[in-house]
Assembly symmetry: D2
């Protein structure tokens, strides 16, 4: 690899940026970054500027001398990049809140990454990510794209199907689930190998290895006092322990939407009724406060308050993946990559989330055999939803959009699909012009 | 085949029997039956006796001289049978009404063949049908079993997996769907070839051939004034036409439970509230009247009132299948048989409902390629439910029973499964002793 | 279908034509042909003229009044055809003899349809059949193409992959194998259902049904005095009976090339040494005599001498397939059609030879489960050879041609492939210009 | 893992033992072996004793204090073993020479691991390895079995199918092929990642990665002066370079038997005619000299002459695999393990040879997508041969033995199988009693 390691962060105005930079600083020996650019769109200029100033102070504190800048000219910024990190949100919190609220009106789960909300987010995001990929193909064709933007699995698949960019999709849920397992077993994280199977935000730990032995039953059946909410935005429902026992699997917190849709809907409705608002509303408020904090010219480290924001260990996984690629470390991470025969129950060209060896060749999935039968058809159904969603987004195809929602298990009363779809398109029309032509 | 064609009807006390006999009478030239026995259990003695007397009068009217009897000794009756028809209902209407009512308490569809109701029926029925098969293996090993008992797909699969009996599962829905297509196109039934794909009570017409051309779009998009309720017990919901257009398929009426679960639940609840009762309650009343009618010693034909009962063309399909086997006619029928590679998306050893060539070799499925992508994962999910159900029933295995319901798309709030399952077992304890040991 | 049934025979100058016409005459009630054209290329004009005169006399004898002609203008002749029969041979006997002789020089089987000879024939034939298909697409788009030209399986697949013409590939080997089984069991052909699995000239009878029971062991283990050479051009080698017993299958005579390559090569070499010449040389002589016979203005029936020619029952199968399509008879024939999931061990888009229902929809394969394990990899290997052959022929691609021969089990010393391939291309250069550009 | 690391070597009388011990000595820091037993059968006592004395001197030289012994009581020796290495040869060189000579009489390749010779070796070896596994299950159930005995792929599969022992099959060909690639590119071995696909002694390098880029074309098309014989016992035939170019793959030297069977047969025949004898004859002579050397009481290191013996880097791979398991290093090695869905073109329960992550969980294959199409059916065919061989060996089943040879591409004239098989059984009767009962 070249010596002048260049990193470009798209969505540089995100409130996560200080955490990412913290990671960059910690890893600076292994990752000798010489150029770093925060990129954002014009609407994000204010935020990216705040981040830029804070990061400058962080670098100064550590005596780090990097060619560091921010930019609104994405293509120019991408020139000869080695790594591109994408963490943008098309439409911002306003769109997120719509994603959470619209489905509720039809009796469905409203969530930013799954169900009809995640669907709307995918429709908005796919054209943008493919545009970014076109830029990368032109000005940084050897770059690795590390994507965090949700729905991360769908985005990874869209990139694979419609561009030549080398991409890995990253999510912080698997690492947090593995930490949770380690806590429950009272063991250091290094002692735990957790085998993940499934899709992004639809994954399961199928086996937990300690010293080469599968000890998942200890997790499933012991009293897990050390367990806690794995992701900030999804409160645990106790019934999930019982389900995990029946399945013989540890399910991602996002599975709760599929297991208990009505309970989850009720929680959401309660939050709205109580004035607390959707999770998006809450996070928007947190973020506002965060940026106030970031502006403080005396602040030169990542502020603790960022942890409330959710997305814990996001920087840890991102920087480690980059390190394992750049330094060809062949370390094992759970990421989103292309199936390519790893799971026989899914098509070859779709994205999966599973344990991979990360090296300068990218992500190579480790074979773990067949899906557990008890959740295979659920995974297949959600994948069908995802495939239709990508086709719909790329072509502005309402029929494919309908079939996407039709195949989503969270949309269980099919007579409401047309109206729901229509509202999604109308309310997102700024970003979904291809559906309106 | 031997010249002394012997037919045994298990569940001979069913109110359908006169229709079946009407079919036997019509086909007597091609099917030279010399012995016919109506078999029932002790609780069904009264009904089977009524049927016996009516059938005697029907035969007399037509000057038919057959060795005809009824029996409560199943194994003895089965000796050297050539064809065995099974049309029994374990637990009778009382159990059916429970199957319809229990799921409603948990917010789920209550229906006798699908969802949690069909599940309960399967648990009761599988041990009985396997007992019958054991008898057949012992005393009539070359006999063909033509099964009508619901859930017909699950029953066919259980027979295949746990016995050596040659069996074909028959349902009247496909033939009625084909008639409906013929009516809509104003063509005689012979001009229509409808390609069916899927499972029993989860089937779709994927193509409609007239003169070698696929004309399904005519059905999907024309104003179908001639269309009517295909099955008596499921009133059509208009939204299904729109869905069929999106899918490019004509869906079985039973798909409405999967498309509009809440609407279907509401209808069921309305019927109960209004005092009309569940469909089972209504049919029990109809049947009571029917048997009053059957007792009339002047009646010597199938009474017209039987048509209200549902199950139209049941005799047509049953007798034609027997005819095509006995006379090796190689005619095409839509029946339930073992997949054996017909649909690559399902395991080899499961039952499917599709177009088959029926001959003295049994049912050979005609290849029709892959499932339509838009409904593949739905079919896979229901099949997973069916496989777990069979394992649960055979072994009295609560975990498998749980996983069956977990995989049933009509059971969408998983936290209720344990309680629901418990109530099913307790209320059916007479028939589910193997779950209680 | 239209009332004016038009049949076009491409390769009308073939010596088989009188047999085909005999079939047309016999079936004239079911197949009311109003127009018939024999088409050939300019080099075949003499022969097609002789056939034309003979057929005129045959029609006259039977008082048949058809619009009958011959033509060298293929596209014009094809206009509005309902059925097109292709029975041509690119390069004539001269090429066939080369196909038989060239491989022998390298130590390989020399045969016109299999091995390197069949490969050369495929390279010459595919561009021509695709040209014919282009004509059909333009001037007779609803026509059915019934192809006899060898290698019939490869040709059927090439048509499917590179045109939209509705085609069925027909071969007389399966029907002759079924007659042979009937003779051995001393039963009329109608009593026998033989299940075929595999590819053209690489097929096996996996089961023989009589009265619904599989009696293949009777054939495999009884003393088969009634058996005879199934195809004129392949003398039976006794060892094949032993192999069939081990496999539990009845193998096509063409399998002898795969089972006993050295013995078959020795036979071929003996024929050449003895002055008898290859089979092609012999048939060329027979054909010469046949056409002398055909010229006899007193001849007005198919001459008996034609039977020596090989190709028995060719007309029977061709005319019956046309009849079953035209009259939508849904009869079962063994033909070459597209796999489309019938055999899971092969790709979907390749040709297979198996039992199909023939109707106005074309050929629908009947499911018969998995290939017998003992011959699965042989079938897969030959199919790989076939797929590469088609790619090579269409694109004039030497690498694909190499890989075709590399995957052919009859080419077992791979160091000779390049030289062999070069000689094939040079000697066939008139027909393989696309390899030389 | 326990602190008292115990290693048992079955076939301890092998001439390879000093190399293995050399490896043990080099790795002693990472692998703290406390007990080491060389096991052999009574016929091998003399050799194992010689080895025992030599190894004692080697340990003494290095001041290594291990509980070291030799034993003829296998089961006792295995008690509580942590690692078991199997490197025995049933029947010794006498049998090997028969394996090489018998097939030649029928016109087939005679080789100890592939073709009919490898088949005979498998028949002799499988019952013995399964006996060993029974012992391990009883007295050392947590032990890892590292198998070198050929045919290593078949042996690995037999262990998986018929025992519960945790086993990894190891071969020195892949590591030598990778070294060869490194030499050709003039790069250190660590810079090369070579992706292997296929089976033991039937493997291919599909991609060669340097700095994350696939550079296989450099190997395929450059003038490879640095290349040399990868395995001692197979002299390179130049034509293989041309074939590799067409395939786009680097093929294992053992593929030469499949590519050039006649040339390989001729070489073997020449060796016999010239008095040099088969490879087995030559190696037997080398070994005799080696043991003379080993007896030298002044020898206390591995003698250089061992390298002539073949089997280079055998100790390197064996000891490294043990190290990666024991120390959970998650290093990547090419080993034989169970497919379990890694290659969709093969059954789940068969052995493959491919890149795996080796840890305390054993070998986890890394997904590398589909087999290259050009060699898929060859691999499938050999696997079918292997599956039948195992069934034949376990059950003494002649029919399965026949079908094994029938499916072996090196047995191309099938009429000779029965006689060949008979001679194999008769000449090996001491070890194949189960075929004679």
């Amino acid at each position: 690899m070249n010596k002048n390691l260049k990193l470009v962060v798209i969505g540089g105005g995100s409130s996560y940026t200080p955490e990412l930079i913290e990671g960059v600083i910690k890893k600076r020996k292994e990752l000798p970054i010489t150029e770093l650019i925060l990129v954002d769109v014009i609407d994000g200029e204010e935020k990216v500027k705040i981040n830029y100033e804070l990061v400058k102070r962080m670098f100064k504190k550590e005596n780090i001398d990097i060619n560091f800048s921010y930019s609104l000219d994405r293509k120019k910024a991408l020139e000869n990049a080695d790594f591109v990190l994408t963490q943008f949100r098309v439409g911002g919190f306003k769109s997120r809140i719509l994603d959470e609220e619209i489905p509720l009106k039809y009796g469905f789960v409203g969530q930013e990454t799954t169900g009809a909300g995640g669907f709307a987010k995918a429709l908005r995001t796919i054209p943008v990510i493919l545009d970014i990929c076109k830029d990368i193909e032109e000005v940084a064709k050897d770059a690795w794209l590390i994507n965090f933007t949700n729905p991360a699995g769908i985005i990874t698949e869209a990139i694979h199907k419609y561009s030549n960019v080398k991409a890995i999709g990253v999510c912080n849920v698997p690492i947090n689930m593995r930490y949770d397992v380690a806590n429950q077993l009272d063991l250091p994280i290094e002692k735990i190998r957790a085998q993940f199977v499934g899709l992004n935000h639809l994954s399961f730990i199928s086996k937990v290895f300690v010293d080469g032995k599968n000890v998942i039953d200890k997790i499933l059946y012991q009293n897990n006092e050390n367990s806690e909410n794995i992701v900030k935005n999804i409160e645990k429902i106790d019934d999930v322990d019982k389900i995990n026992q029946y399945l013989g699997l540890i399910s991602s917190p996002y599975l709760q939407y599929f297991f208990f849709p009505q309970k989850m809907i009720n929680k959401e409705l309660d939050n709205i009724k109580s004035g607390k608002g959707t999770r998006g509303t809450q996070v928007a408020a947190i973020e506002k406060k965060l940026f106030e904090k970031y502006k403080d010219i005396n602040l030169d480290v990542k502020p603790k308050e960022l942890e409330e924001r959710g997305g814990a260990r996001y920087s840890e996984i991102a920087i480690n993946v980059i390190d394992s690629i750049y330094n060809n470390k062949n370390k094992e991470f759970v990421v989103n990559t292309i199936n390519n025969g790893t799971f026989a129950e899914l098509p070859d060209n779709v994205s999966i989330e599973t344990n991979c060896i990360i090296s300068n060749e990218g992500a190579r999935p480790i074979n773990s055999g067949k899906f557990p039968k008890s959740v295979t058809s659920l995974i297949q159904q959600v994948k069908t939803y995802e495939e239709y969603t990508i086709e719909a987004a790329v072509n502005g195809d309402r029929k494919k959009a309908y079939l996407a929602l039709f195949n989503n298990p969270l949309i269980n009363n099919k007579e409401k699909i047309e109206e729901l779809l229509n509202e999604i398109i109308v309310k997102n029309k700024k970003y979904l012009q291809n559906f309106l032509d």
